[in-house]
Amino acid sequence: MNDSPTTSTSSPSPPSTSSVGRVLRVSGPLVEVDGIDRTAMLDVVEIGPSRLAAEVVSVTSAGRIVAQAYEYTGGMRVGDGASALGHPLSARLGPWLLGGVFDGMLRPLRGGPTWLAPGVLRAEGGGEARWRFSPKAASGDVVSAGDVLAAVPTAGDVEYRLLVPPRVSGAVEWIAAEGDVGEDERVATVGGHDVTLAESWPVRVPRPVTTRLDPSEPLATGQRVVDLLFPVAKGSTVAVPGGFGTGKTVLLQQIVKWCNADVIVFVGCGERGNELADALTDLGELVDPRSGRSLLERTVVIANTSNMPVMAREASIYTGMTVAELFRDMGYDTVLLADSTSRWAEALREFSSRSGELPAEEGYPAGLASAIAAFYERAGTVRTLGGTHGSVTVIGAVSPPGGDMTEPVTSHTERFVRCLWSLDRDLAYARHYPAITWRRSFSRDAGAVGDWHGAAGRTKWAADRARAVALLAEADRLAPIVELVGLAGLPARERMVLLGARLLREGVLQQSALSKNDASCSPEKQSALLDLALALYERCLELVGRGVPASVVEEIDLAGATRMRDEVPPDDASSVTRRRDEMLEILAAVG
């Protein structure tokens, strides 16, 4: 082991073993072990004095396995001990998750050492913490998987519900009384099965549900271009592809802060440490407008930054998904955001190329497409085992090399998601944020969301969306013509289309994440802003229709309309409507 001052001493306690072996070969993270006779593919083995976790990637002949370590194997020697744990990579789940920050294997980072030398993080709980346990079932009750056994209050607004674990059912033989309990203490016995607050779940296995339902209720993200043009339904899937600096992280973090889900799982998968520090500071300071509490308390952060071990990065996506599913099973709407899924795919590529798999496109394993599909398939709106509704919405950033949208990760991901928010380098370059381009983005939820708004009495939502989309498309069609003939060469009506599209872009679609008023926008203010832009556009069309020269209309100062998004608070729709009426009057005076 390296003996920098940051290296911890190895754990003195021998691992709980099901079988002990000996290292034969070490080549980077690949470790060949001899003498383990009971283990299966993808099971975890612990190797060496620091008990580094590794995943079995091949079982050659009797007792000889190759495992891929989750951490740096520097200093590991031939002859080091290895022991099989007898189960695949599993996450330790429990009420401590909310508000916490974890690495890709769900090991707590808070309170950890400054420098993360291999083996210093441990998943086992401290055993110290006590949690308030309020039973919701009584001895003798007959329960089945997914039923609520107890409630555990957390620091925030979200109540942690202890459920009957999947595959367990029967009579409650014993349940602890109201009081404080430890994480690994038995709190109930159901059908012969002991239940503790801590639950272990294999991260690569989806948690079971009763049925899947069709997503229709929109996830309100507070971001206008999303909610108005490319809405995502709760339980749906989104990919956000974009080159570097186009705004993926800012957009995802805006959603972490402002969306109306109950629980947020943010997976920083191979991205920047400074960004995470910034996000954690923000979340700690921002207050959830709905609960009045710190936003961090509804959030679980998985931070496997780009300099942390690559194999744990590969696992982080699944760990995050397992946490999201856990809260879904409690009946919550959860959102899983992964920044960036491309770094996960790269980890997958390293994983497979080292284990000698034949490479397909650009070195990625042939199973890349199915791995991406399987990941997004774990999203959904469901009836839980316990009979309530819950959802997992998945939003994944994609970082195409060289901005090339035809590369394997981007092109496969596009096929498997319901919504695509494509970020455009030219928009970002022109500081049009969020740089979601209306040309390459789509939402297959738009119809269902429109119906949902309609059923709630907002019948204009779908119609206004259609008008906005049409206006943007027509302006895009005109843009190259203007470049050829100049603005003056266009008929008056077309010049108004360009003006209308500009109002829409600057007054509605652009949204500054840095502005207090503009960072988030209520559905009412969103509709009012869209209505303002469309109403002014209609009036301008009428003016030129009545013979007012286009140049006269173009010179009217409409900044009062485009500034509105930033001038009034996030939920002040009525000021926007007042401004609309004032501006319409100004225009009326022109004609």
């Binding site: 740096y72 020697r77 031939v78 993360l116 920047r272 931070a303 300099n307």
Partner: protein, 485 residues
């Protein structure tokens, strides 16, 4: 006391099994750890360093950092140190010039120190990171005003062959300060020609003599495996100064393209599967293991700020080296051949450049209260001026509105008053901001929509009363789309 890559009690083996490319296979070994450091003594007495790439039963495959030329496996003595490649840390590095592996280049004694650290470092616990804040002042107007370096961030310079990036790096190394705080500069040069290396040494002699600067020079003819360690050596020294001694350290890494080529070469020699442009698939993670070593730590003084410099092969920003760098760093400063062609130094392409964390380093109490607003206004006006120029090319300058013509004048003033600067000229923040105001004052006041009125009243340089005429050209140029921008 030990020096770089040295050790005390080695386990030694006489003779090796075979040699293949940079790799030496040593047999009949025991207790050798993966990735530990070894020394290889040749018959001539020459000692080379090596890293363990694989251990397999009683075989150890090691990679010889200085190459295997002239090496006969039967004649070598291989010693295993039981440790990864480490260097001593401490003050002794400062004020001196070293090789890429930390051997003296200046005729002075080798670096010795009581405390050794592995150069690979360990990841910083992200929950203990502090957000970068406070500026580094480079004395270069266009950088300090528009893409301010923030202490703890990583901001690269993207250049192309033939552009004066080495001059710029040298100027920054010579001038940069963290006003009022202890400040150090560490320059790590990778794959430089001897002429360039000598020029950098000469130019930085003065600052080096004060003990504020250290140079690690890996030249183009040094073994490529060594090049991979050079930035890590520099960062290990920097981390110690920053996080154990509370100093603000700026680390300049030039040229990262040479570094990446070394990674590619070593990867090919190891027979790994090549990825984009034959760079290994792990290049992103490898670069991150360097770039992510910048930062600040909560409740500790000091910071490591990283300024990598790279040349974009054929000026292509989508090439893996700039692309993967851009995906890790917090913005970029792009140099433009067009500006350099017009004789502008430093030829910074402001619209293509961005310091993402600039907000944390500018404004009230950091630089000046008006700084963020005036910077945003300059960038927006420059973008607008670009659109006006495109239109002027179509319809002629005569057909432009008065306001639009002022935008063209603004763009000229921007280049000559703000950007252009001498290679030895250092400007204070105040002077740079004063120049910024002089430049925006070419525009009528009403065009300055991003600057609060109080700053306009205070800093705007009035030449004539503001007009009321309004340009109608703005609707014409949609700020959208994939094809144009």
């Amino acid at each position: 006391m030990t020096g770089p890559g040295e050790f005390t009690i080695p386990v030694e083996y006489q003779g090796a099994h075979s040699v293949e490319g940079p790799l030496l296979v040593v047999d009949k070994v025991a207790d050798v750890g993966w990735d530990e450091m070894a020394t290889v003594r040749l018959a001539s007495g020459e000692v080379r360093q090596a890293l363990v790439l694989e251990v397999h039963e009683d075989l150890a495959i090691v990679e010889v950092l200085q190459g295997t030329s002239g090496l006969d496996p039967r004649e070598v003595t291989v010693g295993f140190t039981g440790k990864p490649f480490e260097i001593p840390v401490g003050e002794g590095w400062m004020g001196r010039a070293w090789s890429g592996l930390g051997e003296p280049l200046d005729g002075g004694p080798p670096m010795l120190g009581a405390e050794m650290r592995p150069v690979a470092g360990s990841p910083l616990n992200p929950t203990l990171r502090d957000v970068p804040r406070d500026p580094i002042v480079t004395g270069i107007s266009v950088i300090d005003a528009l893409t301010t370096f923030v202490r703890g961030q990583k901001l690269p310079i993207f250049s192309s062959a033939g552009l004066p990036h080495l001059e710029l790096v040298t100027q920054i190394a010579a001038q940069a300060t963290a006003p009022g705080e202890p400040f150090r500069v560490i320059v790590a040069a990778m794959g430089l020609t001897h002429v360039d290396a000598a020029a950098i040494r000469r130019a930085l002699e003065k600052r080096s003599a004060t003990g504020e600067l250290a140079l690690f020079l890996d030249t183009a003819d040094d073994p490529v495996v060594q090049r991979i360690l050079t930035p890590r050596v520099a960062l290990t020294v920097a981390e110690h100064l920053a996080f154990d001694r509370g100093e603000h350290v700026l680390v300049l890494l030039a040229d990262m393209t040479s570094y990446c080529e070394a990674v590619r070469e070593v990867s090919a020699a190891r027979g790994e599967i090549p990825g984009r442009r034959a760079y290994p698939g792990y290049l992103y993670s490898d670069l991150a293991s360097i770039y992510e070593r910048c930062g600040r730590i909560r409740d500790r003084p000091g910071s490591v700020t990283l300024l990598p410099v790279l040349t974009m092969p054929a000026g292509d920003i989508t090439h893996p080296v700039p692309d993967l760098t851009g995906y890790i760093t917090e913005g970029q400063i792009v140099l433009s051949a067009e500006l350099a062609g017009q004789g502008i130094y430093p030829p910074v392409d402001v619209l293509g450049s961005l310091s993402r964390l600039m907000r944390k380093g500018t404004g009230e109490g950091l630089t000046r209260a008006d700084h963020p607003a005036i910077a945003a206004q300059l960038v927006a006006a420059l973008a607008q001026a670009g659109q006006v120029r495109d239109i002027a090319e179509l319809v002629g300058v005569a057909a432009l509105t008065d306001t639009d013509r002022r935008y063209l004048d603004f763009a000229d003033a921007f280049r000559t008053v703000l950007v252009s600067q001498g290679v030895d000229e250092s400007r204070s923040i105040e002077e740079s901001l004063e120049r910024a105001w002089k430049v925006v004052s070419v525009l009528p006041q009403r065009e300055l929509t991003m600057v609060p009125t109080e700053y306009i009243e205070r800093y705007y340089v009035s030449s004539e009363p503001a007009g009321t005429e309004q340009g109608a050209s703005r609707n014409a140029a949609p700020a959208s789309g994939e094809g144009n921008g």
